[in-house]
Symmetry: C2
Subunit: 225 residues, 2 copies
DNA sequence: ACATATTTTTAGATTTGTCTAAATTTATTT
DNA sequence: AAATAAATTTAGACAAATCTAAAAATATGT
């Protein structure tokens, strides 16, 4: 199967990426309103775009019934996601951006069209498998590594693990983590879980910290025994 | 004087850059047709754009009389040129692109909007003064280094110099130079000049080469004594 | 089942950037 | 000074991407 990479507009690329994320990897059907909310646009604009994407065979669109990505659409979405995440790694590793600053710039850089550029960037970064937020970077064929990961909130007192990703990668959350010394690779042990509000006490090295349920449901952990 | 950097579209940025180049640094008046030819678009499209740029006070436009950049327009053009040339250096220095491959990609990258990105890129590249084609890179204030440079065609037999830039930076010309071992920094001595067609014999290290007038008028040389 | 609420689409307008064809202005010849 | 040629602008159209307001389809509640 070939993706002739018929040039897409930035807007088309953004919609495909949005649909991909909303459908949990392009399989499940996504509603017009869900797309509109995610893209911060109006449902009528989404309908227009879905027609265009459908004409280009990038999505399967049945009016009133939602939309799914075609294999071509999925491939394109993955190409954009690959570029986005590689650029995020570049910004952190080579230009000393912090992980809460990279997303906005990567939103622009992900639309630069040059196969060679991305291949060389990949090499410069030593073929990273994950981006600064722990999200997997698809390879050229759209395949990526999966890892066992659980939300910190699912760990029981006594269990421990390593932080390997964030579910929410908004700046405020990431800056909160920075402030409290939590980064990818940080070892966390659960000390106690509060029945009342599901907050938990955790141990990180010497430091001890009380975190809300909100926090615990946005941190991915790889358990260690 | 402040440039509030009111966000511009890619097309507006491209026009400002085009006008800057055509007017030999923003001073001289430029015609609608000259812009159309340079941008590979139609004169009527240029007229439309000139009105828009004029409304934004980026150019002084008098119908039928040509156009010049305002100080704000010049500043914006220089910002785009700075980004373009820094990215070209990045592509050559960090991603091993050859100098004939960088322009097309830089045409896209020059529109990425992030002050911090460009500052950090500048630092990563160790604050280069010139791009891979020998063109000067403006600093944040739009100032750049000038160098004494002469076209190779103006040298007389017996004179020598170092290649410091190209006037034509098209791929075919640059690949011709590669093929013949001419790069920035190459020392060239003029041996003989043919009266008939202005071609010249030049010496580079051991190697001797016969080059046409066309070639000689597109190579910038810093004379050495 | 019917009324109401929600979701989605359609209709029509707007902005940006482009085009072709026609009109207008400016420049050049004779 | 006309006549002709060249450059430039205007008029009208179109595609992409968006919006608001109205209509239509679907879902929900009693
Ligand atoms: Mn991101
Ligand atoms: Mn990320
Ligand atoms: Mn260039
Ligand atoms: Mn250059």
């Amino acid at each position: 199967m070939e993706y002739p990479s018929a040039s897409m507009t930035q807007s088309e690329e953004n919609y495909l990426k949005g649909i991909y994320h909303l459908s949990h990897a392009g399989r499940a059907s996504v509603s017009t309103n869900a797309i509109a909310a995610h893209m911060e646009t109006k449902p009528s604009s989404v309908t227009d775009m879905l027609k265009r994407l459908s004409d280009k065979d990038l999505v399967d669109y049945q009016p009133y019934k939602g939309v799914t990505l075609t294999s071509g659409g999925t491939a394109q979405a993955l190409r954009v996601i690959r570029k986005h995440r590689l650029w995020e790694v570049f910004l952190v590793e080579k230009l000393d951006f912090s992980w809460d600053e990279v997303h906005e710039v990567a939103e622009q850089l992900e639309h630069i069209a040059s196969e060679k550029l991305i291949d060389r960037l990949d090499a410069l970064l030593d073929y990273p498998d994950f981006d600064p937020h722990g999200d997997p970077i698809p390879d050229k064929e759209g395949h990526f590594k999966t890892r066992e990961k659980r939300l910190l909130s699912t760990l029981q007192p006594g269990e421990k693990g390593v932080c390997i990703g964030v579910k929410d990668s908004s700046s405020p959350f990431l800056r909160f983590l920075d402030k409290n010394g939590i980064a990818l690779g940080t070892r966390i042990a659960v000390l106690e879980k509060e029945e009342f509000d599901d907050s938990m006490a955790i141990q990180m090295g010497e430091q001890q910290l009380q975190i809300s349920h909100q926090i615990a449901t946005n941190l991915y952990i790889k358990p260690i025994t």
